[in-house]
C-alpha cells in the first residue's frame, strides 16, 4: 500500500508516522509538502500530529488553507482513505471533512499520557481488525482535544455509528473520570459518514512497536492495510 504523509509547517509527528508505515509495517510511504498542488497516487493519506502553523489562532485553522488541502478534499471525495491524528484530526475538523470543533482541554493544560480507549465500531477501514468493546491503551499528547459538536450533529454521529473511540477507564467503562479533556461523550475518534476519513486524538504511531512497551496502535495500521488490500 502507498501512504502519503502530509507535512504542514509545524507538523512534528510526520517522521513518526512515516517511520511506522515504512519501517514497522513495510509499506510504501512518502512525505507530501503542503505547498504541493498535485497529489501523486496514494491509497491512504495521513495528516500527522504537531502544531501546524504553531496552532496559532486555533489548532488546524491556518493549515486548512494550505494548497495541498484542495487535493486532499478531492482525494476524500474519491473515496481515498484519510487518517488524521491529533493535529491532523484538528485540521480535518477545521476543513469540514469531519464535523465538530476542538476546544482547549478542560484542565487548560497540555496532557501527555497513556490512557484507555474503547473501540466503538469495527466496521470501518480503520478498525476492522478489532471488535466492538475492545480496549486499547494509547497515549494522548494535546492541548486542544475537548471535542465539541452541536446536539443535532452529535445525534447523527451516534445514529450513523461514526464514533469510533471513546476514552474509558482500565475496566473499559466510559466514565467522566476517564475523560481526559472534557470531550463530549468521551469522544476520542470519529469518522465521516462514508467511513473513509477518520480523525483521532490518541497517537497509534507511538504505540506500534514492542520496544516502546505497547503495541495497541498496530490495530489501526493493520486495519488500514487490510482494507487497502480489499480496495485493490
Amino acid at each position: 500500500m502507498k501512504f502519503g504523509v502530509i507535512v504542514f509547517p509545524g507538523s512534528n509527528c510526520d517522521h513518526d508516522c512515516y517511520h511506522v508505515v515504512k519501517h514497522v509495517f513495510k509499506q510504501d510511504a512518502e512525505f507530501v509538502w503542503h505547498k504541493e498542488s498535485r497529489l501523486a497516487s496514494y491509497d491512504c493519506l495521513i495528516l500527522p500530529g504537531g502544531f501546524s502553523y504553531g496552532d496559532y489562532l486555533r489548532p488546524g485553522a491556518i493549515g486548512k488553507f494550505s494548497p495541498i488541502m484542495k487535493e486532499v478534499r478531492r482525494f476524500a471525495s474519491d473515496g481515498g482513505l484519510i487518517l488524521g491524528i491529533c493535529n491532523g484530526f484538528q485540521v480535518l475538523l477545521e476543513t469540514d471533512l469531519l464535523p465538530g470543533a476542538m476546544m482547549r482541554n478542560r484542565s487548560l493544560k497540555f496532557i501527555c499520557k497513556d490512557l484507555y480507549l474503547r473501540l466503538e465500531e469495527d466496521d470501518t477501514p480503520f478498525t476492522n481488525r478489532g471488535r466492538v468493546g475492545d480496549m486499547l491503551k494509547m497515549p494522548i499528547a494535546h492541548f486542544d482535544g475537548n471535542y465539541f459538536v452541536d446536539d443535532k450533529t452529535l445525534q447523527e454521529l451516534e445514529e450513523n455509528h461514526q464514533i469510533l473511540f471513546r476514552y474509558c477507564d482500565h475496566n473499559g467503562d466510559v466514565t467522566t473520570d476517564a475523560n481526559p479533556n472534557g470531550a463530549m461523550r468521551n469522544i476520542a475518534g470519529i469518522c465521516n459518514r462514508e467511513r473513509n476519513i477518520m480523525g483521532m486524538m490518541p497517537h497509534p504511531e507511538r504505540c506500534s512497536e514492542s520496544i516502546l512497551g505497547n503495541e495497541d496502535g498496530r490495530l489501526i495500521f493493520e486495519s488500514i492495510i487490510d482494507a487497502g488490500v480489499v480496495l485493490r
Binding site: 488553507f65 475538523l93 477545521e94 482547549r104
Partner: protein
C-alpha cells in the same frame, strides 16, 4: 482603516478558560463576579480609505479564517486608525 474584531464563544458552548478565570477571581476574593467569558480580540490594519469598502472584506476574513462557526460568533467595528 482599523478593524477591531471580537470573537466569542457561542452561547451554549462551555467556556473552560472563562470558568478558570472566574474561579481564580473568586479565590482572590472577588465575590461579586457572576460570570466570565473569554474571547479573542483582533486588530487588523487595512489599506482601504473607506469603511464601506473594507466591511465585506473583513466579514469574509472572519467567516473564512478568524472565527470557527461551529463554536464561535464574531462581530467587528471599522474605524479610521
Amino acid at each position: 482603516m482599523l478593524a477591531r474584531i471580537y470573537v466569542t464563544l457561542k452561547k451554549g458552548v462551555l467556556d473552560p478558560q472563562g470558568k478558570a478565570v472566574q474561579h481564580s477571581l473568586e479565590s482572590l476574593g472577588y465575590d461579586k463576579v457572576k460570570d466570565v467569558r473569554l474571547g479573542k480580540y483582533m486588530e487588523v490594519k487595512l489599506d482601504y480609505s473607506r469603511a464601506g469598502e473594507s466591511e465585506p472584506i473583513v466579514r469574509e476574513m472572519c467567516e473564512k479564517l478568524l472565527a470557527n462557526p461551529v463554536i464561535e460568533d464574531y462581530r467587528f467595528e471599522i474605524t479610521e486608525e
